[in-house]
């Protein structure tokens, strides 16, 4: 049985996961430069070792309120298409090994913006993890209104 490794994190108490190979690094950062007139899901820009990284607020992408970028905020930095891009999350979870048989497509009752970002559900012990579509999650031009 094939298994995959997922990096997990929480946003609004829901556990999400992305495949480990899409993640460059995870770090906490506390100074963000807002970009006026940018799409609402852009939390801001920050400096990652001389590289300018856009932080995408996953809450906005999920149709929730913006996260206040004050104090340290956790970033999951994804390799992205050509350049890294960061997902702003609430809390970092563990890296988990998941068998494909714990996978199910997203429940039909799941609707709204979240539905567009989620490719499936993994049944963990005691809770569910939603696997994110990495490209959709960082696509800030997706209609989030």
């Amino acid at each position: 049985m094939a298994s995959r490794q997922f990096a997990t994190f929480e946003v609004a108490d829901q556990l999400f996961g992305v495949e480990v190979h899409t993640v460059q690094e995870v770090l906490s950062y506390n100074e963000y430069t807002p970009v006026p007139l940018a799409p609402p899901a852009i939390g801001g820009l920050f400096n990652l070792r001389g590289q300018v990284i856009a932080a995408v607020d996953l809450r906005v992408q999920l149709g929730l309120e913006r996260k206040e970028l004050e104090g340290p905020v956790m970033n999951v930095i994804l390799r992205g298409d050509g350049e890294p891009v960061s997902l702003v999350v609430d809390r970092i979870g563990e890296v988990v090994d998941l068998d494909d048989d714990t996978f199910e497509p997203p429940p039909v009752t799941l609707s709204g913006p979240t539905r567009d970002l989620v490719v499936g559900t993994f049944k963990l012990d005691g809770r569910l993890m939603l696997a994110l579509d990495v490209n959709a999650a960082v696509d800030t031009y997706r209609a989030t209104t």
Partner: protein, 784 residues
């Protein structure tokens, strides 16, 4: 070395590299005699040297390389086997080539390196190889030759002695005495001291005893070090490596900043000094690394005089090439990307732009045409212009051709701006050349130029005056360039403005200097002339601040001048422009981002697009500038008017009430109640047709788009629909009479035509009855 022509210099550098490679390959070939790949590679390299030396008229070098090549061709064709002897002979040939190159580098002539012996050796080798095909017998002969046993071939050493200059160092004392920097007797006594066991260096002794000047000694030390040859003074480095280095230096700068801040707090004087020193070194290191990627545009221009010369001769034209701003530096990768488009534009200008001498003389111009290349920094970009003084573009023919090719419809032409029509030449497959030449006219080219420049985030435009010439303009971004910039505060954030765009700064105290409003549009009286203002906070959609205690940055971009209102101007610094993620391109207000001194990301404002977005359409404003230039010449100081066509009538609108000129596709017009509206920047923009308002019913103009004049104040905007924007004119006439007609304030004669002056307030109220009421409330709030 400096006197060497560039081509010779390049040849030397390239050949040195090639020779080193040949050396390695020959040695490898000895191990692996059957490798045809190696033989072919060596053959090609020698062939290149032969070819170039022939071209540069180094006949002896050519002869020698030719001999080597002949021997190699025998090996390649399998006529002769590869033996250590042949390798040795080939190496000797390579060394001969090397000594000639060294002679060229030093004296610019081939010198008297003995090539005949080597050639004889090669020939002997070829003959014996073919006749005997007994390499085993030959081998020891070659080896002994190397070892130095007497042999007929030995009269010339297989490897010529190294150049004498390189190894022998002249004693420093001798140099000092020769240059008169020290007395022979002092040097003598210093030497005596050394012999007696003084371990200091000679120069140090002389310095310590005050017998010589420090400057003279260091000069002598430099003279003592042998001059580096071309091959040693330049190396090729992978650009990726430089990028990595640059990122690391960026990190170093940040770490330095943090360290300095920490050390300052401790107040330890020694530590502070060390930290400052570290800071200086870091800055210099950063500068150095950045410079490695920058090259003057001269690099790609240097080949153009030849292109122009050859082309103009073959076409029977006389062209003088003028270059301005050669030293303008560009990132290397951008330079590469600009090279081909630029060459194409130059060829095109010579072929199509500049007329032949007869036509020029007939047109009253001097027979010799002038082609000007100009490069300069502007608004955070590098502009490169190719300007000719030829016949100019034929707008009618372009329009006609565009219609023939189905790019435009005939009815669109009338309302189109001349420059928009000219821009059609950038469409694929577009050529108006009457005949196809081998240079241009095949309809490939301009679209490729456009694509190439747009690929690197630049832009191409063309402007032309019939009979006076054409200007092609490339605007190239500074993706990785370092720019001088001003940091400013607006709201809570810090922004970066390229310094090239900044003309001056004005502090507004609200007393002696203040912002005024001309019918709602903020302006500032800069030395008696009105400067239109753009509030940065408003342009960025932030909360709008007050008018006091702020700064106006007088900016210039794309030939437009305006004032940018910011909260605070902090300081100037050099920043590295980092390209911004493509997801921010659509915003259009940012030219890039940078890492500020405190490690935070700062956004670099795109001055041109700020001007464009917050101001008038570029063409209108350009004409506006021209108009004001004309007015300045004439001494007129009347108000500036935007002249529009409404049906058969000409209606003028005071320019300072105009926010923007726009074109909307007809199908975007929607209806809200009895009113016509369009969606515009997330707002509903009410439209009022001036033709209806003024009762000028007539034929509705055909076409897919409508021209509108947008008037905005605060969050409210209205648009006045006109048939066409005609011109911008100065109303210096006094021939004005009050109009009896509703909606007008009077009529005047402008540009020899009777023109009606619009009552803007009334027109706006017709579009949005609440326009001013809300506004006045807003203003009250601000003041309270």
């Amino acid at each position: 070395m400096e006197d060497l022509g560039e081509i010779v210099g390049e040849f030397l550098m390239e050949s040195h590299e090639n020779l080193d490679q040949i050396d390695r390959d020959l040695v490898q070939l000895e191990q692996d005699p059957s490798s045809r790949d190696l033989i072919s590679r060596i053959f090609r390299a020698i062939h290149t040297i032969k070819g170039t030396s022939g071209f540069l008229a180094f006949s002896r070098l050519e002869k020698l390389a030719h001999a080597g090549e002949s021997l190699l061709s025998k090996l390649r064709d399998g006529v002769m086997p590869v033996t250590p002897t042949t390798i040795t002979t080939l190496l000797a040939t390579i060394d001969g080539v090397r000594s000639i190159l060294a002679a060229i580098e030093e004296t610019q002539a081939e010198g008297d390196v003995d090539i005949d012996t080597i050639i004889a050796q090669v020939n002997a080798q070829m003959n014996s190889g073919e006749a005997a095909a007994a390499p085993a017998a030959e081998a020891p002969a070659g080896e002994t030759a190397e070892a130095g046993t007497p042999q007929s071939l030995d009269e010339t050493p297989a490897r010529p002695a190294p150049e004498p200059v390189e190894n022998q160092r002249k004693p420093i004392g001798e140099i000092l005495v020769e240059t008169g920097a020290a007395q022979a007797s002092d040097v003598g006594s210093a030497l005596a001291q050394q012999i007696e066991g003084d371990e200091r260096k000679l120069g140090t002794i002389l310095l310590d005893e005050g017998k010589a000047q420090p400057a003279a000694v260091s000069e002598a030390l430099q003279a003592q070090t042998p001059k580096r040859s071309i091959a040693d003074s330049a190396i090729r480095v992978d650009v990726d490596l430089l990028d990595t280095l640059m990122n690391m230096v960026g990190e170093l700068v940040l770490a330095r900043n943090q360290l300095v801040r920490g050390v300052m707090e401790t107040g330890d004087a020694t530590l502070v000094r060390s930290a400052q020193r570290l800071g200086m070194i870091t800055s210099e290191l950063q500068e150095g690394i950045m410079k490695t990627r920058m090259q003057p545009i001269e690099h790609i221009w240097s080949k153009l005089p030849r292109v122009v010369r050859d082309l103009s001769q073959s076409l029977g034209k006389q062209v003088q090439l003028v270059m301005e701003g050669k030293e303008t530096e560009l990132d290397r990768s951008l330079l590469e990307a600009v090279k081909d488009p630029l060459t194409h534009l130059v060829r095109n200008a010579v072929d199509h732009g500049i007329e032949d001498p007869e036509t020029r003389t007939a047109a009253g111009k001097i027979a010799e045409g002038k082609l000007t290349l100009r490069a300069y920094h502007e608004g955070g970009h590098v502009a490169v212009e190719v300007a000719d003084d030829g016949a100019g573009l034929n707008v009618e023919r372009i329009a006609q051709k565009a219609v023939e090719n189905g790019l435009l419809r005939a009815d669109q032409i009338a309302s189109m701006d001349k420059r928009d029509i000219m821009a059609m030449v950038f469409q694929p497959g577009f050529s108006t050349a009457a005949k196809v030449t081998n240079v241009s006219g095949r309809g490939v080219g301009m679209d490729v130029v456009k694509t190439n420049i747009e690929n690197i985030g630049g832009a191409v435009s063309v402007d032309s005056t019939p009979g006076q010439g054409t200007v092609w303009r490339l605007t190239i971004p500074l993706t990785l360039a370092i720019i001088q910039a001003l940091t400013v505060d607006c709201g809570e954030q810090r922004y970066v403005v390229p310094q090239v765009a900044v003309l001056e700064l004005v502090f507004i105290d609200g007393q002696s200097t203040k912002i005024e409003y001309a019918s709602g549009a903020p302006v500032y009286r800069l030395r008696g002339k009105l400067l239109p203002l753009v509030r940065l906070d408003r342009a960025l959609g932030l909360e709008v601040g007050g008018d006091q205690g702020v700064y106006i940055m007088v900016l210039q971009a794309d030939g437009r001048r305006f004032g940018l209102v910011v909260d605070r101007v902090l300081n100037t610094e050099e920043v590295v422009v980092k390209a911004l993620n493509s997801r921010f391109k659509d915003i259009g207000l940012y030219a890039g981002a940078t890492i500020l001194g405190d490690g935070k990301v700062g956004l670099i404002l795109d001055v041109s697009s700020l001007a464009r977005r917050s101001h008038l359409a570029p063409d209108a404003e350009r004409q506006n500038l021209e108009a004001s230039a004309r007015a300045a010449k004439g001494g007129g100081t009347g108000e500036r008017l935007l002249v529009t066509a409404v049906g058969e009538r000409r209606v003028a609108i005071p320019l300072d009430t105009v926010t923007r000129l726009e074109e909307f596709p007809r199908e975007r017009i929607e209806h809200a109640g009895s009113r016509e509206v369009v969606q515009y920047r997330g707002q509903i923009l009410p439209l009022v047709r001036l033709s209806h308002l003024l009762g000028a019913y007539g034929e509705e103009p055909e076409g897919d788009t409508v021209s509108v004049v947008v008037y905005s104040e605060g969050a409210r905007s209205v648009a006045l629909v006109v048939d066409r924007i005609v011109d911008i004119a100065e109303n210096s006439t006094t021939a004005r009479r009050d109009a009896e007609e509703d909606g007008l304030v009077g009529t005047a004669v402008i540009q020899q035509r009777v023109t009606e002056l619009l009552d803007v307030r009334r027109a706006i109220l017709a579009a949005d009855p609440n326009f001013y009421t809300d506004l006045e409330n807003d203003e009250l709030l601000v003041e309270a």
